[in-house]
Subunit: 207 residues, 4 copies
Amino acid sequence: VAVDSQGAAGTGRLETFSDGVFAIAITLLILEIVPPHDPGRLAHELLQLWPSYLAYAVSFLTIGIMWVNHHDVFRLVGRTDRLFLFLNTVLLLCIAFVPFPTAVLGDFIRSGEGRGTAAVFFAGTFTVTAIVYNVFWRYAASGRRLIAPAAADADVQAVTRSYLVGPVVYAIATAVGFASAWASVAICALLSLSYALPASRWLTRRS
Amino acid sequence: VAVDSQGAAGTGRLETFSDGVFAIAITLLILEIVPPHDPGRLAHELLQLWPSYLAYAVSFLTIGIMWVNHHDVFRLVGRTDRLFLFLNTVLLLCIAFVPFPTAVLGDFIRSGEGRGTAAVFFAGTFTVTAIVYNVFWRYAASGRRLIAPAAADADVQAVTRSYLVGPVVYAIATAVGFASAWASVAICALLSLSYALPASRWLTRRS
Amino acid sequence: VAVDSQGAAGTGRLETFSDGVFAIAITLLILEIVPPHDPGRLAHELLQLWPSYLAYAVSFLTIGIMWVNHHDVFRLVGRTDRLFLFLNTVLLLCIAFVPFPTAVLGDFIRSGEGRGTAAVFFAGTFTVTAIVYNVFWRYAASGRRLIAPAAADADVQAVTRSYLVGPVVYAIATAVGFASAWASVAICALLSLSYALPASRWLTRRS
Amino acid sequence: VAVDSQGAAGTGRLETFSDGVFAIAITLLILEIVPPHDPGRLAHELLQLWPSYLAYAVSFLTIGIMWVNHHDVFRLVGRTDRLFLFLNTVLLLCIAFVPFPTAVLGDFIRSGEGRGTAAVFFAGTFTVTAIVYNVFWRYAASGRRLIAPAAADADVQAVTRSYLVGPVVYAIATAVGFASAWASVAICALLSLSYALPASRWLTRRS
């Protein structure tokens, strides 16, 4: 890996390592779903697992979108420094944690008692992750500290604005979870589906 | 990652990320096989696990072929957009799900009661995956939306035709599973083995 | 991925995918070691797990060496075809299977009854893998079918010769396992350690 | 992969493979945390798991820093040989082992009896890993055996000096673990957090 004249390392191997963590965290989600045990009721038991499938899908799409966002950061970041490497590691620590609240949500969303706690834990994890994402990005973007010379200011500011959506929406989903677990999960699911819409701010930035 | 003049991102890091998910999903399959417990009958118990080895092999070869197909898509696709990224994520969601029906098949194929359900669930997962594959590809290919300028129309059309095989054969295997679990698994196994034959349509397209 | 004039695809993405499977299989080995449960005897129980540590180390080094060998194949192979892709997938299927016999060996090597079976299963898996390795390589090397034009015949023949060691030594280890489990594991361990010796045939080929 | 005129292979694919093992080991850490079972006390039980979260965070940051160090080695190393490949594999064997002592620490740090053993096992694993790191690096650096011609002697010596910190601090943490488990874990945590400080010797070397 080349080192530029200002002493900061390039981003190539960092991107590869981060991609690996995203890809593994997203694929490990399935290991949290445990096969049923009763052959006489297998079809019924497989259907009963639908909360785990739902939790799997929401977490998969959310990590997928966070990967796309991470990818976008590195279109604008041209170099790294030590604190940026540390913040990236803390961000990956949050991403790699996601399979655990996903398992908890799948296990307890049908349970009257544990449901609310599971939803708050699930949306809360995404809230913390989205906040870390903003700290990570703002460290790089502030005063164009680590931004590549070729990156336009308008693109940098568009990312800064767009990343504010995550902490706000996930904090709302976490608060809603105390009242209704299902509404909390629905907010998380809708946010990830919204990224597939062509008319959003996100494509605008890219075009 | 460079961005071309039409504002769509290149495919390099997307391929790397997708390769990671394929590689991890295919390797996690083995974790679903649980070691036996009885030392006095270890040889017998290891042999008794053969349905799990069979399920492992069929899923491994199937994911392997889907990886080759994914690889081929990116020989023809020159750029991505937001909806294509989303469809790719949904496709990876299906691929990463495969270890679960594989575990269910291995656990229940010898069981009189659960056998049919397990085979339908197994082949049904591949059916859904193959349908998502077609939607993913057709979105890129339709009107050459994301096709690289250098890609020949004949190659694009050959992929479109060849991808129709999957949904049809897997749908048949799923339907057959209601009558005979073994026949259903055999169809899935034969489809993956057929890709090794030199005289198939697939090599033809490549040459 | 570029396609050469003979219609066979290049090897770049295939190497990346295969590296992923090797890296994942080697890292999953640790998941097969289950933490002890008794706090009052934790030190004793951690020491009692030494057969699992041994099995972990032997499998780790063996997969590591197989990765180096795979790496070497692709220094000489210049292109792929459909059957080579299939053989590579079967080879990866064997590599990804290794965590299972490793877990079985760790669980049963101290058990009077299961010990022999576990060692035969362990060395037997490596025997099959080494045979598949030879089929895979000979398909590429036979008549220089997939060998890069720049590769020297002497290098190709040296690989062919050196790959014969694996099936022979592992077959001996498997046979020995019926008489002595410890001797069988020792043969597997010594073979992997032998690759670290500077004076072996292997470095000779490289220089 | 190209081979230079002295017969030693380049480092590209070795870096990719090693990155994969680091990324997988770091992401597997979460699988060692088992979801709670009692819906009526879910919030309480999730909070009770805090020792597992702590162990997860310390191991994640430690492996993250070891990855950065590994990355740095390959900024200076220009080629590999057989023994270096073997030492790299032994180093990865240590890295991939970390999820196991992490699970043991999370399970036993609140237990009066097992606590000390778990902390000694945890810090001891990092001690061994740090020693292997030094052997690995010194083999490459000694007499500039595998150092790239363009690398400055001052940079090589700075790495040699900075790598001495690990074995010493982790050996102290291991010894402290016999007296106080919490102090031992705190030393490990502080060492990983120290890498985020901008004024350390490490950034100095880079600038």
